[in-house]
């Protein structure tokens, strides 16, 4: 055994609070350690060359690098030792940065701890065995979950790159949040005018298979080979027959259905096409409001439909698709107004959310683009915008910034002035966050050219006074209280993750943060990857994002998939469970506990039954290893002996 140990200074990150030289000296004394040194930046190219050179010069056959977290650079160094001719699993990392130098102030204690931790890594590396990957074929189809602008972009880029794409959208039309917007900042482009053609591209692309009004039921498999069960929810309209003529919607007698597309600004019909540019432009019945379902009679739509597309008996349908990678682009949701009781959210009809205001502004919205306040349909003259309505508010558990509210509030204030020239808008803000190309100029324009009055301070209460809403707040710049009697109040409500984000994450085996946003592999360097290989993120499901960022991520995720699929075969991770058939007693407890059904029973020639691991299915969790009473099934690279070596190095020494 000739172990080489490399202790990284990481500039001053480690060396500042750990005596790296002392660590190297202590480690050098360990029998079996043939070489131990320190280096300024081990991960740098010269640092890696140093390792390769040392392997050659000192005939090393095991390598330990003591540096940052293995979550950061384990892969880097595995490649390094492999290039030097060693098996990539003859390598261990000791984390002396995140777990030592950055969290302890006492240099002596840190150094002692670092020696222990490196010693444990040395003990483990001595137990390491060479492991070899096997390769398997990949299914070059990709699933995109979510048909908002990020998902559409990802789908189109993948499809243009020659991949078959399965696009699943849970609402009846693709388009997502962007399709609800009136205009986009900072260019005041018509949102649907730029999005519409993209939606049509998606619909017409021969490589894209669209499942609208569908959800993911189940995900099985692993990178390269996923089996997806998709639930096509019952629309009660046969979409193969529906032409989208809208006759049913016109004649439907049930007029009080909740309009999901318009965020309930006005009611819609029980059978409806969500908006004129919808893709697919097909009608769908809302059984909660449809008289046929609620009262058992009616049937007007069935009678009127020229293609006889109505089918009240329709059931959810499950279809299975097989893909090799998944892009998650499930977007975001918005804070419920009722969560803001001090603003009378949900109680006062004239306190509305930004997205509702967006629909009031929109020419194809319920008011046909006329700004009319909900309570009495009168045009408001004084409009107050409240930013950070919920955002950056620890007391309701949303400490983060919602990213784009500052910008859309400026946009809405500008548009308000365009719609109602004699109106006056006020904006309560905490800080104006406009760090984008042309963004800050845009907010200044709102103030300077459109006379929007910006008041720096928070709103404490909104209450009705006659027909007005009194907005009571503080102007922190003037240091005084302000009260504005408004006709309409628009709240820039906080951006939330989707309510079922956690649920989907569990199916995908990806992680999510406290707020339900999906966690990327690395916040800087791997922003669209997840820790589950084959699953990528795009758009606001990862965190609040505006349109250009979402589109950028959609393309980024697509490029990751295209890169992954540029090979025909993928290499399997050899750190999977392995059965010693001489030891296995065939009790098959491992088969019971494997979360992935990766273990089967196998009959040997002598009739003995033993466990057998399907390598490509095994994900390497090691539940089987801790289940097996006789230690016959061992998770490679984390075997009992490897972990015991670490325990012993620490406890017995």
């Amino acid at each position: 055994m000739r172990v080489g140990v490399f202790i990284c200074h990481c500039g001053n990150n480690i060396a500042g609070t750990v005596d790296v030289k002392a660590v190297a000296e202590a480690i050098r004394k360990i029998p079996g350690v043939a070489y131990a040194t320190t280096y300024m930046y081990t991960c740098s190219e010269p640092g890696q060359d140093e390792i390769k050179q040392a392997i050659k010069d000192h005939n090393l056959n095991r390598i330990v690098v003591a540096a940052c977290s293995p979550r950061m650079h384990e892969l880097t160094f595995r490649k390094t030792v492999e290039k030097a001719g060693l098996n990539r699993y003859y390598f261990e990392m000791a984390n002396i940065r995140e777990h030592i130098s950055w969290i302890g102030e006492d240099k002596e204690a840190n150094t002692k701890k670092a020696i222990d931790v490196v010693k444990m890594a040395v003990a483990k590396v001595m137990q390491d065995r060479p492991l070899y990957s096997s390769s398997f074929r990949i299914n070059k189809r990709v699933l995109v979950i979510g048909g908002g602008v990020a998902g559409m972009q990802a789908a189109l880029d993948c499809a243009d790159g020659g991949l078959e794409v399965v696009l699943v959208e849970k609402s009846p039309s693709i388009g997502g949040m962007m399709s609800r917007l009136d205009k986009t900042f900072p260019t005041i482009d018509c949102s649907i005018c730029i999005l519409g053609p993209k939606m049509v591209d998606v619909a017409q692309h021969d490589k894209i298979k669209l499942y609208a009004y569908s959800e993911i039921d189940e995900i099985k498999g692993y990178v390269g080979n996923y089996q997806i069960k998709i639930r096509k929810k019952a629309t009660y309209v046969d979409w193969t027959k529906c032409t989208g003529c809208g006759a049913c919607m016109e004649k439907c007698p049930s007029r009080n259905a909740y309009d999901y597309f318009n965020f309930g600004v006005a009611p819609t019909k029980a059978i409806n096409i969500p908006f004129p540019q919808a893709i697919p432009k097909k009608a769908k019945i809302d059984p909660n409001y449809c008289r046929h379902f609620t009262k058992g009679k009616c049937g007007v739509c069935a009678k009127i439909c020229p293609t006889k597309a109505i089918n009240y008996e329709m059931q959810d349908e499950i279809v299975t698709e097989e893909v090799g990678a998944i892009i998650v682009a499930t977007g975001y949701s918005l804070l419920d107004l009722e969560k803001l009781p001090e603003y009378g959210g949900g109680r006062y009809p004239d306190v509305i959310s930004g997205i509702q205001y967006e629909r009031l502004l929109n020419a194809s919205g319920p008011t046909a683009g006329h700004i009319l306040r909900p309570s009495d349909h009168i045009e408001p003259k004084t409009i107050v915008f409240v930013s950070c309505a919920g955002s950056r508010d620890k007391s309701i558990g949303i400490p983060y910034c919602s990213n784009f509210c500052c910008m859309y509030i400026a946009k809405q204030a500008i548009l308000t002035k365009d719609h109602i020239p004699d109106s006056q808008s006020y904006v309560f803000y905490m800080d104006i966050r406009s760090p984008g190309k042309g963004y800050d100029e845009f907010t200044r324009r709102a103030q300077e050219d459109y006379g929007v009055k910006y008041i720096r301070g928070r709103v404490s209460r909104i209450y009705p006074k006659g027909k007005k809403m009194v907005v009571k707040g503080v102007d922190t710049l003037l240091g005084s209280q302000v009260e504005i009697e408004a006709d309409l109040v628009v709240l820039g409500t906080a951006v939330l993750s989707n309510p079922d984000a956690a649920h989907l994450a569990e199916k995908l085996h990806i992680s999510y943060d406290t707020f339900g946003f999906y966690v990327e592999s690395h916040p800087k360097l791997r922003p669209v990857e997840t820790n589950t290989s084959g699953v990528f993120l795009a758009g606001a499901c990862q965190g609040p994002k505006d349109i250009p960022a979402s589109v950028g991520q959609g393309s980024a995720a697509a490029s990751k998939v295209l890169a992954l699929f540029s090979k025909d075969m993928l290499e399997s991770d050899p750190a999977v469970a392995k059965v010693d058939i001489n030891k296995c007693i065939g009790c098959l407890k491992c088969v019971r506990t494997c979360p992935f059904q990766a273990i089967k029973d196998k009959e040997l020639r002598d009739g003995r039954i033993v466990a057998d691991v399907i390598e490509t299915v095994c994900a390497g969790c090691g539940v089987c290893t801790s289940t097996c009473p006789c230690g016959a099934i061992q998770l490679q690279h984390f075997t009992d002996n490897q972990l015991l070596a670490e325990v012993n190095a620490l406890c017995l020494a």
């Binding site: 293995p70 777990h99 969290i103 085996h509 969790c621 539940v623 290893t625 289940t627 972990l643």
Partner: protein
């Protein structure tokens, strides 16, 4: 960190790679200061932690053992921590029967984003172990 002027205690931590090890990294990146007694062993999943590792450590000289995994439902391997929870709970309840203070063994859930939580866990657990003092189960040196 008042108790730490004394000698260091031997504390072993088994952390799952995806959540808690990441949480400890996050604590590091955020420079959340912690006592220095803990030595971390990285495992893929808390489900990999055989309760016997805890026993082995305690019998062989550890003063405390900490196991941390993903929060229930958030397991990278979907079910690993559910098994861990049952097995470790079993152990936790057995230890006092053997005459070992159950506080010497703690298992918990810390996600990759919970650096502050991790810091608190380490601080609190280290403090408890310092209060309990060294463990010598078998009267052997």
């Amino acid at each position: 960190m008042s108790g730490l002027e004394n000698k260091e205690m031997k504390i072993v931590g088994f952390l799952c790679n995806w959540c808690s090890y990441g949480g400890a990294d996050t604590a590091g990146v955020s420079r959340f200061k912690q006592p220095t007694d803990l030595r971390i062993i990285r495992v893929p999943c808390s489900g990999r932690v055989n309760p016997l590792f805890v026993v082995k450590a305690l019998l062989n000289g550890a003063d405390g053992v900490l196991v941390s995994g993903c929060h229930p439902r958030d397991c990278h391997y979907s079910d690993g921590n559910f098994y861990a929870r049952r097995r470790l709970e079993m152990l936790k309840r057995l230890l006092p029967f053997l005459g070992i203070d159950h506080r010497r063994f703690h298992y918990t859930w810390v996600s990759a984003s919970e650096g502050a939580r991790w810091q608190q866990v380490v601080k609190d657990f280290t403090e408890v172990i310092h209060k309990l003092g060294p463990l010598n189960l078998t009267r052997e040196a």
